[in-house]
Amino acid sequence: MTTNEVARLFGKEKSGDSSEAAPAEVLKQLQESALELLGGLDRAPRSLRIKADQVEIELEWATPEPAAGAAAGAIPGAIPSAVPGAAVALPEAAHNRESPTGQYVVAHTVGVFYRAPEPGAKPFVEVGDVIAPGQQMGIIEAMKLMIPVESEVAGRVVEVLATDGAAVEYGDRLFAIEPADS
């Protein structure tokens, strides 16, 4: 279930019975206390949890070797939230092929991918082509609607990742791109 690599920091306001310290203040105190405590330990712990009133701090380290003063740091295991509409560098579809630049044009809907405006015609783009933002690179057909695939960045096509006529899902990688500004 829960990963061991969770670091938590949260407050649980309940019925604020007036006469208490403001959560923000308590939090600050707890934070200091955590760092002090960690500084004072000669054996690094695997986890630490401090709670006062409605506020609590909980820390857990993945490796038995904890970073000194790691209180903040990156949160391991956190799922990066997908940026709606971003057609570049969507982190999902891990089974998709990798680009050395890590930049892709991805499918923004489920449908059938076409590289050319019609059967037999010349593809919109080929490997090596320089592309501009808004340039059409293909078509996805969904429910008989022809939805253009457009680049959101300027760059160069490094690889074509989806074959013509392939059934693609949202987020599938279609092209690997080398951005112009990279």
Partner: protein, 449 residues
């Protein structure tokens, strides 16, 4: 019967539909947005397709993505669940145009019942009791005021295209009327792209009682008793139960008959709900609206009647006859449902989603849990906050509420930032006001007060 059904929904209802399909031997296709990729139904279904990003507009509301997924997987039918596209008559048409069965009423029935003015006219003709008010949309303040003069204050101004508590205003004082009328029109235009409004008498402390119906395409219409959904907070239902406590038997019978009459008049097919207001003063009831979908609270009816509403809904959509007749419907005992939402009751019921570090559903005798939650599940912040429906049954209401109390207590849900309404619901159902069963839609405010 269908060979494969695509489920155009998420959360607990998607799982509910998938379970019904599995029990009927039907293969299932789940469609999911990016934030739902690790959800229970994605694991559960036979196939799953990633149709779009978190925002519903680009995933669960995207007709091209859903139709494309159905065509690609060879699904015979689409179950829309509730919300999203479930009462979208255009979607039902698009399904038909693509040779896919829509598991719901015919498109024209949805369209007609979704227009509250048209629904009022239809139900009025069918002899379903109605609150005094206008049967036509009102074009001018003068016309509207004439209706008010006739029916008396207070009144409620409602959008023809509204529903579910949106797009309406209550007017207690004549001086406020003109302004409220204009505001509601403007709001209706903005919300629904349809500025038509109508006026009817407003009942302040009415009960919300609804009748479940099932109809097949062969002329069979039955009703499966009522659900009392008065326990609401800002038009959001919190607790539903059947039977409605203290509802006189003749009233129950009359409401059931009215619903069947209305469903027949509308040419209804599938599972549907007739919502009524019951006036505790006069003991009369009046038509509110028809919900052309399976409801969140359908398990309450399932627990007392033993009828699997989703299975029946799927079967009649496949052209089969209802397996049960009106005589087979013999409600037994009492059932109560509590909606456990990831919301913080101490902060105005603000959404409080997060990772469920601990998730141990209630269990044991006469307890049913419908949930898409599981330990480690990250509840996304993108959709409504319903996490679990806890439903209990007992021979009578008192025992059912005792059982609900213990079930709410034993349900363990926790995680960083996660808060639920379980504790609040426990207090609500143990409140003497609630226990007495003298329900009205202001019961939650009364208890909170």
């Amino acid at each position: 019967m269908f060979g494969k059904v695509l489920i155009a929904n998420r959360g607990e209802i998607a799982l509910r539909v998938a379970r019904a399909c599995r029990e009927l031997g039907i293969r299932t296709v789940a469609v999911y947005s990016t934030v739902d990729r690790d959800s229970a139904v994605v694991r559960y279904a036979d196939e799953a397709i990633h149709i779009g990003p978190g925002p519903a507009k680009r995933s669960y509301l995207s007709m091209p993505a859903i139709i494309e997924s159905a065509l690609r997987t060879g699904a015979d039918a689409i179950h829309p669940g509730y919300g999203f596209l479930s009462e979208n008559s255009f979607f039902a048409e698009v399904c038909a145009a693509n040779g896919i069965a829509f598991i719901g009423p015919p498109a024209d029935v949805i369209a007609r019942l979704g227009d509250k003015v048209a629904a009022r006219q239809l139900m009025s003709q069918a002899g379903v009791p109605m609150l005094p008010g206008s049967l036509e949309p009102l074009s001018t303040v003068t016309e509207a005021k004439a209706v008010v003069d006739q029916i008396g204050l207070p009144v409620i101004i409602k959008a023809a295209a509204g529903g579910g508590g949106r797009g309406m205003s209550v007017v207690h004082d004549e001086s406020e009327f003109a302004r409220a009328y204009r505001d509601t029109r403007a709001a209706a235009q903005a919300l629904f792209g349809d500025g038509r409004v109508y006026v009817e008498r407003y009942l302040g402390r009415a009960r919300h009682v609804e009748i479940q119906v099932l109809a097949d395409g062969h002329g069979n219409v039955i009703q499966l008793g009522e659900r009392d959904c008065s326990a609401q907070r800002r038009h959001q239902k919190l607790v539903e139960e059947s039977p409605a406590p203290g509802l006189p038997e003749p009233l129950r019978t009359a409401m059931g008959e009215a619903a069947v009459r209305g469903a027949r008049a509308a040419g209804y097919v599938g599972a549907g709900t007739f919502e009524f207001l019951v006036d505790p003063g006069t003991g009369g009831f009046s038509f509110m609206e028809v919900n052309c979908r399976i409801q969140v609270e359908h398990p309450v009816t399932e627990m007392v009647t033993g009828v699997d509403l989703v299975q029946e809904q799927i079967r009649v959509a496949a052209g089969e006859r209802l397996r049960i007749s009106q005589e087979d419907v013999q409600p037994r005992g009492a059932a109560v449902e509590c909606r456990i939402n990831v919301e913080d009751p101490d902060r105005g019921f603000a959404p409080a989603p997060g990772v469920l570090q601990e998730f141990v559903p209630a269990g044991g005798p006469f307890v049913r849990v419908d949930t898409h939650g599981f330990p480690g599940y990250k509840v996304p912040a993108d959709y409504d906050s319903l996490l679990a429906k806890l439903v209990v049954w007992a021979p009578n209401r008192e025992q059912a509420l005792e059982r609900m109390g213990r079930a709410l207590e034993e349900f363990r849900i926790s995680g960083p930032g996660v808060r639920t309404t379980a504790g609040f619901l426990g207090e609500l159902i143990s409140d003497p006001v609630f226990r007495r069963g003298e329900h009205s839609t202001s019961i939650v405010d009364d208890v909170l007060a």
